[in-house]
Symmetry: C3
Subunit: 264 residues, 3 copies
C-alpha cells in the first residue's frame, strides 16, 4: 500500500477484518471488543499463559494493556509479547496508570523493553515512564523543555525504538516522520471509562494493516472523528458510550483526512 | 408441562425466575447478567473453586463458557459441572473459540466428557470439536457430507449424548426429535460482542424449566425474535446492544411460535 | 463542612473529584467505573496484591465488593482494607451474596472484622451476616422484631461499629443519628445488573468527602433520585442502564434534599 492516510487505512482495516488479540483489563474487555467490532476488526481476548502465545501467532496484531495487571496476566503479557516478536506480529502497549504504583511502572518498563511497535498513553503515564527509565539509566538527560510530555515521548521513542502516541486534548504521535498532531474529539469522552484503552485497541487494528507510525495516526484520527460524530445531540456519558460504538461503525474514510497527516 | 413450545417456555421462565449460575468469560459477564435479567431469570456469576459447587446446588441451571478460560476457572468449571451432574442440575457448555488453540480445544473436550445437557456453538467451533474428538478416537468416520457443520453436530450429539445447538444465519438444534431449524434474526448482531454467549445463557435459563432439546429451541427462537425487535430503526452496533436488552424484556410469548417447532 | 445534606455533599464530590479505588467483581467493573465518572469522581480498579495497598494510600476512599471473590482477590481485599485503616482512608464493604455460600458469608464476616466505615447490602445479605455472626458469637440475642432486616442492621452496626445501609424499596441507613429512611427510585432498576454495587461505589465517592453516615445517606439519596430521572420515557432495561449513567451526570444538588435527612 502506498497510501498511508487514515482514510486509506480505515478502508484497509475493513477489507482485512484483522484478528486482534487483546490482553487487557477487566474494566474494558467488553467495551474494547465492541469497539473493535464496530470499527470492522475481529477481536479476541485471550490471556491464559497456556494459549496466549499460540493465539498471537494467528493474529494480525496484539494489544497489551496493564490496567488491571496481576501476576498471572503479566506473565501472559510477556509470553505473548515475545511470541509476537518471534512471529513478526506487531503489538501495542497501553501502560495504564504507570506512575501510580511501583508495580505498575516497573511492569510497563519491562514490557517496553520487549519492544512494542507503539506505546499509547496519556501525558502523565508517558512522563512517569520516561522519568522512571531516566532514573534507572542514571545520567540520561531528559531536561523538561516547554512541553514536558513531548520531551518524555521523544525520550521513550528514541530509547525503545518505538512509536509513541500521547493522547489528550491534542494527540501527538512521535515517529520516524517527527511529531504529528491530531486535534478534534471532545473533552466529555473522558466521562466514558476505557476510551483511552479503546484508542489503543484501534492502534492494534491498524497495526495489522500498516506500519506503526501510520497505524497510530490513523487510529487516533479515527477516534477523534468518531468522538465528534458521537457527540451529536449533546449526550450524557451513558449515551455517549453507546453513540461512540455507533460512530466507529458509521465513520467513513471520506470523513477522515485523505492526504498526508498533519505534522506539528 | 405438556406444552414445550417456545411461547409456553418463555412464560414458564418468567413465572419461575430461575437462578442461573454462570462461569463465563470476562468479556461478557456484565452483558450476560443483563441478558438473563431482561429475559426474566435471576443470574449469578460464581466462579471460585471454594464455592462454585455449593452454588450449583441451589441453582436451576449452570452455564459454562470457556471464552477467557485459565487454569483457575477451568478447575472451577469442572467442579461445578460435576456438582451439577450429582445434583441433577442441567448445564450448557459454550466452547468459545474451540479449534483456535490446543488448550481451548482440549478443555472443551474435557468438559464435553462431563456430559452437558446442551452444547451451543458456531459452525467453526462445532466442527473443530468433532474433528478433534474424531482424531482422538481414531477410526470414527465423520466424512463431511453436503453440510459439514450438521454432520459434526450430529457426531457430537451421538458421541456425548447431548443436544447440540449450532447457531448462525439459520440455527440448528440436534436432539431426540432430529434436526430443528430456526431462522430469523439479523446478521448485524455479529457486531455486538457476546451475543453467542448470551444465547448460551438463554439456553441455561430455559434448561431450568424444560428438557434440553425444547430449552435449546426456545432459547434460540427467543434470541432470533428479540434480535428482530432490536433491529427496529436500523441501529448502529452500540444502540443494537442496548435495544437487544430492551427486546429480551419486551418480547412476549405471543411473539414466538406457539405450536410445535419447525423441523428441517 | 457544616452542611452534610446530600445536596451539599454532591457539590463537594464534584468539586473534589476524589480518587476512589475499587476491588470489585468482574460483572460490574465497567459499569462501576462509568457510574463514578458520571457522578464526578475519579475511579480506579486496582486489585493486585502487589499494588492494592500502595494504591489505597493515594485514594480518597476504598470500595470492597465480594461479588466474584476468589482466593487472589480476597487476599488483596484484606491487604487493601488494612492499608486503608492504617492510612485513615475510609472504606465501604458490599457483601454481595452473603448467605448464599459459606465461603461468601465467612469472607464478608472477615472483612467486617476489619471495620469498614460503611457496609451496604440488601435485606437478605444483611440478615445473613447478622445471623452468621450471631451464631459465631453464641448467646447474642437478635430476636427478630417486626422488621428483621432493621434488627439485623442494627445488630451489625453495634457489633462492628460501622454504618449499615440496607437498600430496597425503601433504603435505611443505620448510624449515630439513628435510622434514616430514603424512599424513591423505581423497582425496574433491579433489571439492571450491578445497581446495588453501583450504589456502594457511590458511598465510596461520598466517603471521600464526608463522614460515613452522611456519605451513605447522600449516596443512597443520589441513586434514588437518579433512578427516577433515568425512568423518564419508561425505558426497557438496556436503555435504563444507559439513562442511569446520564442521570448520575445530570442530577444537580437542587434535585436532592437540601436540609437535614429524613429520619424514620
Amino acid at each position: 500500500m502506498t497510501d498511508h492516510s487514515p482514510a486509506a487505512l480505515l478502508s484497509a482495516v475493513r477489507a482485512a477484518r484483522p484478528l486482534v488479540q487483546n490482553i487487557t483489563n477487566t474494566v474494558v474487555t467488553n467495551f474494547t471488543a465492541n469497539v473493535l467490532l464496530a470499527l470492522g476488526a475481529s477481536p479476541a481476548m485471550v490471556d491464559a499463559a497456556e494459549e496466549a502465545a499460540d493465539f498471537v501467532r494467528i493474529s494480525g496484531a496484539l494489544v497489551v494493556n496493564i490496567g488491571t495487571l496481576n501476576a498471572r496476566t503479566v506473565a501472559s503479557m510477556k509470553l505473548a509479547a515475545e511470541a509476537a516478536n518471534e512471529a513478526g506480529v506487531p503489538w501495542v502497549l497501553d501502560p495504564v496508570g504507570a506512575g501510580a504504583t511501583a508495580y505498575r511502572t516497573q511492569t510497563a518498563l519491562d514490557l517496553l523493553a520487549l519492544r512494542p511497535a507503539v506505546v499509547r498513553g496519556n501525558a502523565g503515564e508517558i512522563m512517569a515512564l520516561a522519568g522512571a527509565q531516566d532514573r534507572s539509566q542514571k545520567g540520561v538527560d531528559s531536561a523538561a523543555g516547554t512541553d514536558a510530555a513531548l520531551d518524555a515521548a521523544q525520550y521513550l521513542a528514541s530509547t525503545f525504538g518505538c512509536v509513541v502516541a500521547v493522547t489528550g486534548e491534542t494527540d501527538r504521535v512521535i515517529g520516524p516522520s517527527g511529531v504529528t498532531a491530531i486535534s478534534g474529539g471532545h473533552a466529555r469522552i473522558q466521562l466514558v471509562t476505557g476510551t483511552g484503552c479503546a484508542t489503543t485497541a484501534l492502534v492494534g487494528a491498524f497495526l495489522a494493516v500498516a506500519r506503526p507510525e501510520a497505524a497510530a495516526i490513523a487510529a487516533l484520527t479515527t477516534m477523534k472523528r468518531a468522538t465528534e460524530i458521537a457527540m451529536r445531540g449533546d449526550p450524557g456519558p451513558g449515551t455517549l458510550a453507546v453513540q461512540l460504538l455507533d460512530a466507529l461503525h458509521a465513520v467513513q474514510p471520506a470523513d477522515l483526512p485523505a492526504g498526508a497527516s498533519q505534522t506539528a
